[in-house]
């Protein structure tokens, strides 16, 4: 090697747009299969809204895994807590949710979101301290104990709200749909998409524009080096775990209103989708998580329309196909 090394041009850093194009390709492939353009628009919008909700709940979990290699199978519990908090808060504000005013309705949804996030965050803090911390670095124990934690959580939910499904009616002005030509766009999905975009924007801002975000991204790559630079990764991890729990709580509020009916097992049901999403995205990758969530949301809606019995299988098949193409997910994190 010579001094040329200093001047050696770097390989051109090309943006890897293939995974994003995959989302467009999936939508394009679905169009002729669905047949009707207006139905396709409706399904696509519904898929994007569902994808954004899944992104909100999965983004915290992918960072938790990336930072500390913690496999938290109990993440679904925070989603269920968010959904039940929404049912409780919105149930106690029935006058507000039944009002015909959009602003009054949103004024009821906002506290539901805040309470859902705060309670899920508080439970997340306790969950990390009591359940996760004793099993750092032990994957098998993490799987078993976090699943156990979620089962206990589900039983507590049954004790408090009962085992039967609870309806979670949408506020009055969020019901129904806008018509775009022949395509129906459900109003609530517009709200869900907007909330998802706000969360995405905030998350990307924190991760890319703040030192805290730098630390999180660096910690996902090489936590030992982050510690050697003088930062306490354990504190960072607890913060990310709680933030991830709060996001899951927010996602639970949105998911509950999306389904309009919630059961104590809701967390376990959504957990499957979360794991598919973070494996598609690449463990620890936020942008990968977004791509994975959008793919899963779209796939679920298209197959739900075309082949309802194959809905869950289609997402697993999608994951397998993507892992055959990119075994570490669409956007693997360097050094992992």
């Amino acid at each position: 090697m010579s001094t040329l090394d200093i001047e050696a041009p770097l390989p051109r850093a090309r943006a890897d747009l293939m995974p994003a194009l995959l989302v467009l390709a999936l939508a394009a492939i679905a169009l002729p299969l669905v047949g009707s353009f207006s139905t396709w628009v409706t399904l696509t919008f519904a898929g994007l809204a569902m994808g954004m909700i899944i992104f909100i709940v999965a983004s915290g979990m992918t960072l938790v895994f990336g930072l500390m290699d913690v496999l938290n199978f109990g993440h679904g519990l925070f989603i269920a807590i968010g959904a039940y908090m929404a049912a409780t808060v919105l149930g106690s504000m029935a006058d507000w949710t039944q009002s015909g005013s959009l602003w009054t309705n949103l004024a009821a949804v906002l506290p539901a979101m805040i309470v859902g996030m705060l309670v899920a965050g508080a439970v997340g803090l306790a969950f990390e301290r009591v359940i996760v911390r004793p099993v750092y670095g032990q994957h098998l124990k993490q799987i078993l104990i976090t699943m156990g934690g979620m089962i206990i959580g589900e039983e507590i939910i049954k004790m408090m709200w009962g085992p039967q499904a609870i309806t979670l009616p949408l506020p009055e002005s969020l019901r129904g749909a806008f018509l775009l030509g022949d395509a129906a766009i459900e109003k609530y999905r517009v709200v869900a998409l907007a909330v998802g975009l706000i969360v995405l924007g905030g998350m990307l801002w924190v991760l890319n524009r703040t030192k805290l975000g730098l630390l999180i991204r660096a910690g996902v790559e090489d936590r030992e080096m982050v510690e050697s630079l003088g930062y306490r990764i354990r504190h960072l991890f607890v913060g990310v775990f709680v933030a991830g729990s709060m996001l899951a709580g927010l996602g639970g509020v949105l998911w509950g209103m999306y389904q309009q009916s919630i059961v104590p097992q809701l967390g376990a049901q959504v957990n499957v989708l979360i794991f598919i999403v973070i494996m598609i995205g690449g463990l620890g990758s936020t942008v990968g998580c977004l791509i994975g969530a959008l793919l899963v949301g779209l796939m679920a809606n298209y197959t739900g329309f075309l082949m309802p019995k194959a809905a869950l299988f289609s997402n697993i098949a999608l994951m397998v196909a993507i892992l055959l193409w990119r075994p570490q997910g669409v956007y693997p994190v360097t050094n992992r």
Partner: protein, 250 residues
């Protein structure tokens, strides 16, 4: 030459799992000087640096900084504590964050700076003087740098703020000769600014040019410690302890 030690290892033992790697290290690292830690592959040099930094726990003995125990049984000092006490560590694999830009890597190492605007620009320019490639590729992803450029970045990260003690594992690895000279100049300037440096190195020519003191390790123990000029002139000692002579690396 008698120099007050900044760092002392007293009968330090380190186990990694079932393996007993360090077998009672005794080492004194003089303040404001460069000490070279030499030895064959597998002698325990990297383990010694990692034990000092707290990345692996000393199971017996004591690591002292300025006379205060910071490592060994009974101490609870972690790597972040070591960094806050003024220690910086450059691992053999460089520990570069490949998904982050060069700027972001440097910003993380400057704990006092909340954003790039708060970086000490004079110090940054001083570093760019040694490692100009970093200025050129300031906004590029660090993962795209060549091996030598990553080594420069790892060093730059370690010295972006004044440190009391630098622990560097094989700094010359993969570097072009011109950059090795710049690295040597950087170590000499750092030493003059009262920074204490402990280097693990396989390149004996580099070691001779940089080091004030040398400690040779074999089988998890320090088997020789003394002034570098003495070792550089004693080919019999080099051959006996290192299996090589500096003469063969001219």
């Amino acid at each position: 030459m008698t120099v007050q030690p900044l760092l002392e290892l007293k009968d330090v033992h380190t186990h990694i799992g079932a393996y007993h790697i360090l077998h009672g290290i005794n080492l004194s690292v003089p303040a404001s000087a460069v000490t070279m830690l030499l030895g064959r592959n597998g002698a325990g040099k990297t383990t010694t640096l990692r034990t000092i930094m707290g990345l692996w726990r000393a199971t017996q003995g004591q690591v002292c900084l300025d006379g205060t125990p910071i490592g060994g049984p009974g101490t609870r000092t972690s790597p972040p504590d070591m960094a806050r006490m003024g220690m910086a560590y450059v691992p053999e694999n460089m520990g570069i964050f490949g998904d982050l830009s060069v700027k972001e890597n440097i910003l993380l190492a400057a704990r006092m700076a909340r954003n790039a605007a708060q970086l000490d620009t004079a110090r940054l320019e001083w570093i760019f003087g040694f490692f100009p490639a970093l200025k050129k590729f300031w906004l590029h992803p660090a993962g795209k740098l060549s091996g030598g450029q990553k080594q420069m970045l790892a060093m730059a990260r370690a010295i972006i703020e004044p440190r009391r003690l630098l622990l560097v594992d094989e700094p010359s690895k993969g570097l072009a000769p011109a950059i090795i000279q710049n690295m040597i100049d950087a170590f000499i300037e750092l030493k003059q600014s009262s920074t204490t440096i402990l280097l693990v190195e396989q390149n004996f020519n580099f070691a001779r040019r940089v080091g004030d003191f040398a400690a040779i390790m074999d089988n998890g123990q320090v088997v020789h410690a003394g002034a570098m000029p003495e070792l550089a002139e004693d080919e019999a000692l080099q051959t006996r302890l290192l299996g090589l002579s500096l003469g063969s690396h001219q």
